[in-house]
């Protein structure tokens, strides 16, 4: 008995140490500014500053490369020398350095051909497609990929040519990725159109929506960042192990039973709702959470309900999409269309129940 308790305490200590290491590696903000021995901000942290990001974007949009843009930022006083150095080191590697790091002979060959030729746009596109594949397969990381784009843009700039939008749009996307989709992508990076809801009023004669080009949505899922609440949960769980071993009996059983019930109640949030128990607005948002989980795409605050519907259209199964489309229609009617019909309420609840139960 005592031996088990001892082992449990040891396990708790080990878990606490792992947690502390996680906290340190994630570099949580401290309450005291300039707290001694804290690590400096990473390049990603610096890019989370949207002011710097917007300046950087504008500079890239002009004629500057990443490196030049960073130098300009430093000259303007937007960032200090140390920050500039960190940013340049992270994303400003030269072409040769990147190719050396990547070590892919095919990529090397393709870039050599591009250099020898007249920087043909078709050749560039094939290089970018290949680089995209390498990046999506995880063969090259975000820094190498960004540096590669930078090196390609330098090639064009050195010959006095305009940097093709294929490169700049990818650079934008990378910046967006680095700031965890806090700022939406520019239009040219993700051309999308708003989907047409198939006739909200139920008539087949209504014209479908065909907007010019809706502002695009970042289709990047919520990054998994270690939160303080997670840390606390892990610590508590670690403490529960020796407690459970020491106080194994009725009290412990009750405690675990309560915890189990608590977890079950959390899980019930996405369960079918009783008809008429919620309004279509609440049901819509529950449906959004459900679709977010399925599609791994968050609904950003600047995206309309139709835009979100269009974004997740190909990421969820057709039956879920059909039902989510209907819930979106009902939400629009109720929320913006001044319809307070009980039929809307009942139908929204019914469709939502079917959706979470996985029918269709």
């Amino acid at each position: 008995m005592r031996c088990k308790a001892f082992l449990g305490i040891v396990a708790a200590i080990i878990l606490s140490l792992i947690t502390a290491q996680c906290v340190y590696s994630q570099d949580f903000a401290r309450h005291t500014p300039n707290f001694p021995y804290t690590r400096g901000p990473s390049a990603e942290d610096i890019l989370k500053n949207t002011t710097i990001l917007s300046i950087l974007k504008e500079l890239i949009n002009g004629s500057a490369s990443y490196r030049e843009a960073i130098e300009n930022l430093e000259r303007l006083g937007a960032i200090d020398h140390e920050t500039a150095g960190r940013l340049a080191a992270a994303f400003g590697a030269t072409g040769d350095e990147v190719l050396g790091r990547v070590g892919d002979p095919q990529l090397n060959e393709m870039i050599e051909m591009l250099k020898e030729g007249s920087l043909d746009i078709e050749e560039l596109k094939s290089i970018l497609q290949y680089a995209d594949q390498l990046y999506s397969l995880g063969i090259i990381d975000v820094q190498d990929y960004t540096s590669l784009l930078n090196a390609l843009s330098d090639l064009y700039r050195e010959r006095g040519l305009v940097v093709p939008p294929d490169i700049t749009s990818r650079m934008y996307s990378m910046l967006e990725l680095l700031i965890e989709a806090k700022t939406p992508l520019p239009l040219e990076t993700l051309p999308q159109s708003v989907p047409s809801l198939p006739n909200i009023e139920g008539s087949a004669s209504s014209a479908p929506l065909s907007f010019p080009q809706a502002p695009p949505l970042p289709s990047i899922g919520t990054p998994a960042q270690l939160d303080l609440s997670v840390v606390l949960a892990v610590s508590m769980a670690a403490l529960c192990i020796p407690l459970a071993l020491l106080l194994r009996g009725r009290m412990t059983t009750t405690c675990f039973h309560r915890m189990y019930r608590g977890f079950r109640s959390v899980g019930r949030r996405a369960e079918p709702v009783g008809e008429g128990s919620l309004d279509p607005i609440a049901i819509y948002w529950m449906a959004v959470r459900h679709v977010e989980r399925l599609s791994k795409v968050r609904k950003v605050e600047s995206a309309t309900h139709r835009e979100y519907l269009g974004t997740v259209g190909k990421l969820v199964n057709p039956s879920t999409y059909t039902m989510f489309t209907r819930i979106t229609q009902l939400y629009e009617l109720y929320r913006f269309g001044f319809r307070r019909d009980s039929g809307i309420l009942d139908e929204a609840a019914r469709v939502y129940s079917r959706m979470v139960e996985g029918y269709g």
């Binding site: 239009l187 708003v194 209504s206 065909s210 907007f211 010019p212 600047s302 995206a303 001044f338 019909d341």
Partner: protein
């Protein structure tokens, strides 16, 4: 298959379906019929502008079917159409009209200018002198003209489609900001795609004769009734708040020297209502606002020179603003 319900009163349903049917018919004839190739957006926006009682500024190089668009819409809607080619020596009287002495009757007789029409295509508006531009724009705003002290109301509907060439640098008088603000929308029209161009070349003879033989799909009276019904389109307070936020955001954008005025917000509201109505709805949703915000705002935003030098355009600023402003929630 999910059963769909009609949550709209029969009267309201019939009203909005009228708008949908005439817009669909116009699009069917012009777009599906291959008369105006790849111009669906322009046609929709001109129709929205017309229903919202506004005027449109169309920017595009010569030869991209600006005149054909205006002319064919006028024919299909049973409206009178006139065209004025602006030149630096054009006088205000050449547009609004003047009194001429009639020797037979011994009296002065009014000779009405081309402004007395329903759809007026003003080609190269920035080629006219500021005096002539002012006379035209005043008539656009007031919907009336005063000739020799007598005021004449212009016939409803009255819509001006003014064009300007984006690359013309010499011999032009750019419209002042205050006057550009009078246009409800600014549309930028461009060249067709390669396949569209080939299609156009194949059927150019048929297109020319088809435009001449277009028959009205709606009477002028019915059109005026449709325009009245736009006022019945309802807007939730949260959507109004959304429109205000968009316009305010243009003022605080770092690239903007002068942002949208309250008139810009009114323009978005009017266009959103018309757009929603054309889509067959009697309420405005945030998507309608987003759809019309760009053409309603681009010409009302003045950028900082340093951003202009970096090729930042107003349309990109509007896109950025739309991507920042939160849509009504929950």
């Amino acid at each position: 298959m999910i059963k769909k319900f009609i949550y709209l009163s029969h009267a309201a349903y019939c009203k909005v379906q009228n708008a949908v049917s005439f817009v669909k018919e116009v699009l069917r004839i012009l777009v599906d019929g291959g008369i105006l190739i790849e111009k669906e957006y322009e046609i929709r926006m001109v129709l929205a502008c017309l229903l919202a009682r506004g005027h449109a500024l169309i920017e595009g190089v010569p030869g991209v079917a600006k005149t054909y668009t205006a002319k064919s819409i006028a024919r299909l809607l049973d409206l009178n159409f006139k065209r004025v080619q602006m030149t630096p020596d054009l006088l205000p009287t050449d547009i609004i009209g003047f009194y001429i002495y009639d020797q037979k009757s011994g009296e002065f007789r009014l000779r009405k200018g081309p402004i007395f029409t329903n759809i007026l295509l003003v080609d190269e508006v920035n080629r006219a002198s500021p005096r002539t531009q002012s006379a035209l724009l005043e008539a656009m705003q007031e919907r009336q003209v005063t000739i020799e002290g007598t005021t004449y109301m212009l016939e409803e509907p009255f819509v001006v489609l003014a064009t300007q060439n984006p690359i013309e640098m010499e011999g032009v008088f750019p419209l002042p900001e205050a006057q550009v603000d009078r246009f409800l929308v600014k549309l930028t029209t461009g060249y067709p795609t390669h396949s569209g161009f080939v299609k156009l070349l194949k059927s150019i003879r048929e297109i020319e004769s088809a435009i001449e033989s277009l028959k009205p799909v709606i009477t002028k009276k019915q059109l005026l009734e449709e325009m009245e019904r736009i006022n019945e389109v309802r807007v939730d307070d949260s959507v109004l708040d959304y429109i205000a936020s968009i316009v305010e955001e243009t003022r605080s954008h770092p690239a903007v020297r002068l942002g949208g005025s309250p008139r810009a917000g009114i323009a978005i509201l009017r266009l959103s209502k018309a757009w929603a109505y054309m889509e067959g709805r009697d309420y405005v949703s945030p998507d309608d606002v987003k759809a019309v915000a760009k053409p309603a705002l681009v010409h009302r935003i003045i950028l900082r020179p340093e951003y202009e030098m970096q090729q930042v355009s107003s349309s990109r600023v509007v896109e950025d603003v739309l991507a920042k402003v939160k849509v009504p929630a929950p």
